[in-house]
Structures are given as structure tokens and as C-alpha cells.
């Protein structure tokens, strides 16, 4: 418990330092926010154009797809906001030896990685997500009762953990291969599949994004629980189990990786 408090305190201090450094570049902040926001908006326009041609997509209405799309942005945005530094581990820090500094401080290494940075760009995604989900609430297409509201937030956290775990797992491969950025990117981009109902995909693809790289559980599957009465709350339960299992695997690989870390200069 004491340990927990200490880390919380350290997190506050380190993030405060980080925020001081980025305050100097408001323009960059706005550009990043705009970039991510704009990318998401384009996705919506795409759906809109398609729905000019068809009444529904395999039983899903435009409004429902917008909710799924918006919901998908939230765990993605949360993960993006807090753990963006993981990308640098996969791309750069291991190969150029910047990772050394984490090894030299008397703190948990993963904690140091994520405490070093907040990614304000993520607000672009969070903003899109909040607007779209709020819009869906206003339209009354989302089920609102205590169970659903509670599980909504549980699902956001579990979804973010799944994102983080997948990122951490692939970034950690860098300890063996020096630069795992391309793998990390490949895995991360698979999340795009989960923006749409998984029923539209072939069986193999559906299996892959449900159980291997389980992005279906951060977006489409939980979203359908909030939209349709016939989906049971067990869906969120499975999501949580997957979050825990994947986190354990990813963290174990990361931990093992720090022991085979070779630093730079050889």
C-alpha cells in the first residue's frame, strides 16, 4: 500500500514535469489533436457516404455503427493518452540504448516508461469518442441502466488494458530483435478491423481479431452489449478475463526482456 502511494506520488511529479515541457509547444499540441480528430471524422464521413446507398449493414443501422465506432475510440484513446511511450521502446529506445536510464533508477521499469509521457494527441480520439457516444445516448439507441453504466466504465478500463498489453507485448520483442516497431505497428493497426461488426469478416479473420489479437473485445463486442438486449453481461466478463490474461503475458515478456536487454554500442 505504501509502495502504491509512493508510485502515485512519483507519477504525479513526473507527469507534472512532462507537462511543463510540452506547455512550451501549444501549436504542436493543437496540430496533434487536430490530426487524430480529423482522422476519426473521416471514418464517420465514410460511413455516412456508404449509408447513402444502403438502408442498413447486415442488420446494423448507421446510428448503431456510429456508436460502435465512437465507443471503439474510448479505450483506444485512454491507452494512447497514458502509455504512448511504449511505442518508443519498440522503435528506438532499445536499439539506441536510451532504455539504460530506466535500468538505473530504483523504480519499477514499466512504471518509468509510462510515467515519462502523456500523449495529448489522444484527446483527438477521446473527443471523437465522447461526442459520438453522447450523440448515441441522446438518440436513445443505447441501453441505460445501472448495470450497463457500471459495465460501460469497466469495459473502458479492460479495453484500455487490452490495448496496452498488445502494445507492450510487441514492443518487448525489441529486447530480442532490437527494433520491433513494424510488428508493433502491424498488431496495433489490426484494431481497425474492430471498428465494424465482426460478422462481416471471413471466419479466419474473425477468429484472429477475437482470440489471437483480441481487438474485437475492445470495441465491437462490448459495444454490442450496450446496444442490444440479447447480448449478456458475460461479454464484459470475458473482456475482463482477456484483459487480465493478456496483461500477464505481456508483462512477463517485458520483464524477461529487460533481463536480455543488450544496451547500445556493440
Amino acid at each position: 500500500m505504501n509502495q502504491c502511494k509512493r508510485y502515485l506520488r512519483l507519477y504525479k511529479i513526473m507527469i507534472a514535469q512532462f507537462l511543463k515541457t510540452i506547455m512550451q509547444s501549444k501549436v504542436d499540441f493543437l496540430i496533434g489533436l487536430f490530426g487524430f480528430f480529423f482522422t476519426q471524422i473521416m471514418g464517420i464521413v465514410f460511413l455516412y457516404l456508404v449509408f447513402q446507398q444502403i438502408p442498413n449493414l447486415q442488420g446494423w443501422t448507421f446510428e448503431q455503427l456510429i456508436f460502435i465506432y465512437g465507443f471503439a475510440q474510448l479505450p483506444r484513446g485512454i491507452d494512447h493518452l497514458f502509455t504512448d511511450n511504449i511505442w518508443l521502446v519498440g522503435w528506438r529506445m532499445v536499439i539506441n540504448g536510451d532504455f539504460d536510464r530506466y535500468m538505473l533508477r530504483p523504480m519499477n521499469i514499466f512504471f518509468q516508461v509510462i510515467a515519462e509521457k502523456l500523449q495529448p494527441d489522444a484527446l483527438g480520439e477521446l473527443l471523437t469518442g465522447v461526442i459520438l457516444v453522447a450523440g448515441s445516448l441522446a438518440k436513445g439507441i443505447v441501453i441505460v441502466d445501472i448495470l450497463h453504466v457500471v459495465l460501460f466504465f469497466v469495459s473502458l478500463v479492460a479495453g484500455a488494458v487490452i490495448y496496452t498489453s498488445i502494445k507492450l507485448f510487441f514492443a518487448s520483442l525489441a529486447f530480442w530483435m532490437k527494433c520491433s516497431g513494424p510488428f508493433l505497428q502491424t498488431a496495433y493497426e489490426m484494431a481497425d478491423f474492430a471498428k465494424y461488426p465482426t460478422e462481416i469478416y471471413a471466419k479466419g479473420v474473425r477468429f484472429l481479431i477475437t482470440w489471437v489479437i483480441p481487438f474485437a473485445f475492445v470495441a465491437y463486442l462490448p459495444a454490442s452489449f450496450f446496444l442490444k438486449n440479447d447480448v449478456s453481461a458475460g461479454m464484459i466478463g470475458i473482456e475482463c478475463v482477456i484483459a487480465v490474461v493478456f496483461w500477464c503475458i505481456a508483462y512477463a515478456v517485458f520483464h524477461r526482456g529487460t533481463h536480455v536487454y543488450e544496451s547500445a554500442g556493440n
Binding site: S25, V27, D28, I31, G32, L33, F34, G35, F36, F38, T39, M42, V45, F46, L49, V50, Q52, Q53, I54, P55, N56, L57, Q58, D121, M177, C179, G181, P182, F183, Q185, T186, E189, M190, D192, F193, Y196, E199, I200, Y201, A202, V205
Partner: protein, 272 residues
């Protein structure tokens, strides 16, 4: 011409060599870029099943499949970004060095982009193209592409490449004003995905919007070559479209030159 080739060919070859050094990365990038093609493929399949019409935006379901994968082939030829090189040079402060060298900075970047283009075309795209053509004829039951269409398509794609790099060079000038070009690139990519027809054929847009697009260079980048390939643009239309592409090459070439002159003047004044 010969002199030009001699000066700028090394840039092309270097880019080629660098591409090959990242072997693992490279195969993965092919996979990643194919992801979005597959997502589109499945999505369109679902869309066509949900529709009571046989054609959407002037394309049948079979043509749409060809469209989706030709977007991949065409983009890999056309979209060879140079703005990231510009921003790298600006951040490192090596742009000034490039001003001293007796070469044209923009030409050297384009030569580099050409190297990347050739590599991407040779390694994944040709294979995917051939695979698609076989699939198209055997499984989709469409007629094979004609030699004329292939030639016109390649010609149009090369012009698209030039339009893209010349545009991207202008865009890269943003790097002189903000160090955080990543956000801008993201926005550029999203915008281009839309306006070039990568994400959805231009014919899906309301006609008023399409008319506006006629006056922008973007649809010339991806949509035009694919329409030629699909045999939607033939005869005089195809000729006109190619002419329009050529016009954009000239316009963007001149515009880029002017912007570069202004920016470098500023660079000399401020010191870079």
C-alpha cells in the same frame, strides 16, 4: 537529361538499398497496408449484400473488389512520401547543407521517392496485381485487362506519382513552421485517403462535391488511374484525364518551386 540521371540516380539507388536493409520491417508493412484493403474488401462485400441495387456509385460488386485492391497497387506506386525527409532535414538542420550542394533539393527528394516507388512496385505490388488479375478473371468472371489499358494505367500512375510527390513537397514545407509534423502528416494522410478515392470511390460523393473535386489535384492521384484500369475512362475521356494530370504536374512543379524559393529566403535570413 543524361546529366540529370547521373546526378540523381544515386539517390534512387540509395533509397532502394535502404529499403532492402529493413527486410523484416518491409514484409510487415506490406501486411499492414494490406489490412486496410482487406477491411475494405469485407466491408464492401457486406455493403453490397445489404443493398438492393446491383451497382453502387457506378461499380458492380466485382468491380469494387478490383477497385479496392487496385487502390493498394496504385497507392504503393504513387504514395511515396517525401515530406518526412523534409521534416527530418529541417529538424537535423541539414537543409542549409543541401542549399550549398550543387543539386536541386527537390529533385534529389523525388529521385529518392522514385527509388522507394520502384522497390515497392517490384516487390509486393506486381505480385498482388497479377494475383488480382487472375482472381478477377477466374473467380469474378470479368474480362481480362487489355494491353492498352495497362499502358495507359502505368502512364497515368507515373503522373500520379509526380503529382503526389510535388504536392507532398509543398506540404513538407510545413516542417519549417512546426517541429511536430507528425500530427500534420496524419491529417494529410486522412485527407488524401478521402480526396484521392483511396477510401471510397469519388463517385460516391454527392455530385456537387464531385464538381469541386474536379478542380483539385487529388482525384488525379489514385482515382483516375484506377478508372482507366477498370475501363471506365476510355477514348477521349481517358485522353482528357491524362491531360489534366499533366497540367497538375506542371502547376504543382511551378508552385513548389515558388514556395521553396520563399522558404529558403527566409531560411537564409533566419539562419538554419
Amino acid at each position: 537529361m543524361r546529366k540529370y540521371v547521373k546526378i540523381y540516380l544515386p539517390f534512387t539507388l540509395n533509397a532502394l538499398k535502404r529499403q532492402m536493409a529493413y527486410k523484416g520491417a518491409f514484409y510487415l508493412f506490406i501486411l499492414v497496408s494490406l489490412f486496410s484493403s482487406f477491411i475494405s474488401y469485407y466491408l464492401w462485400k457486406a455493403i453490397y449484400t445489404s443493398s438492393d441495387q446491383a451497382t453502387l456509385g457506378g461499380l458492380t460488386q466485382e468491380e469494387m473488389v478490383v477497385y479496392v485492391f487496385m487502390v493498394y497497387v496504385t497507392s504503393s506506386i504513387v504514395m511515396s512520401s517525401i515530406s518526412n525527409y523534409v521534416s527530418e532535414d529541417v529538424v537535423k538542420g541539414t537543409v542549409a547543407m543541401n542549399l550549398i550542394k550543387p543539386i536541386d533539393y527537390r529533385m534529389s527528394l523525388i529521385a529518392m521517392a522514385a527509388g522507394n516507388m520502384i522497390y515497392r512496385f517490384l516487390v509486393p505490388s506486381v505480385a498482388i496485381w497479377i494475383g488480382l488479375e487472375i482472381y478477377k478473371v477466374t473467380a469474378l468472371g470479368l474480362r481480362p485487362v487489355t494491353a492498352v489499358e495497362v499502358l495507359l494505367y502505368l502512364l497515368s500512375s507515373i503522373m500520379s506519382f509526380l503529382i503526389y510527390v510535388l504536392f507532398d513537397f509543398c506540404f513538407g514545407m510545413v516542417a519549417f513552421f512546426t517541429t511536430y509534423i507528425f500530427g500534420m502528416m496524419l491529417a494529410e494522410e486522412a485527407l488524401l485517403g478521402f480526396l484521392t478515392g483511396q477510401l471510397i470511390p469519388i463517385s460516391f460523393f454527392p455530385s456537387a462535391v464531385q464538381r469541386v473535386f474536379d478542380f483539385l489535384p487529388f482525384s488525379s492521384m489514385v482515382y483516375t488511374p484506377i478508372m482507366i484500369y477498370l475501363g471506365k475512362y476510355t477514348g477521349r475521356t481517358a485522353g482528357f484525364m491524362l491531360f489534366r494530370q499533366a497540367a497538375w504536374v506542371v502547376i504543382l512543379y511551378v508552385a513548389g518551386g515558388l514556395i521553396w524559393k520563399r522558404v529558403t529566403k527566409r531560411l537564409v535570413v533566419l539562419g538554419g
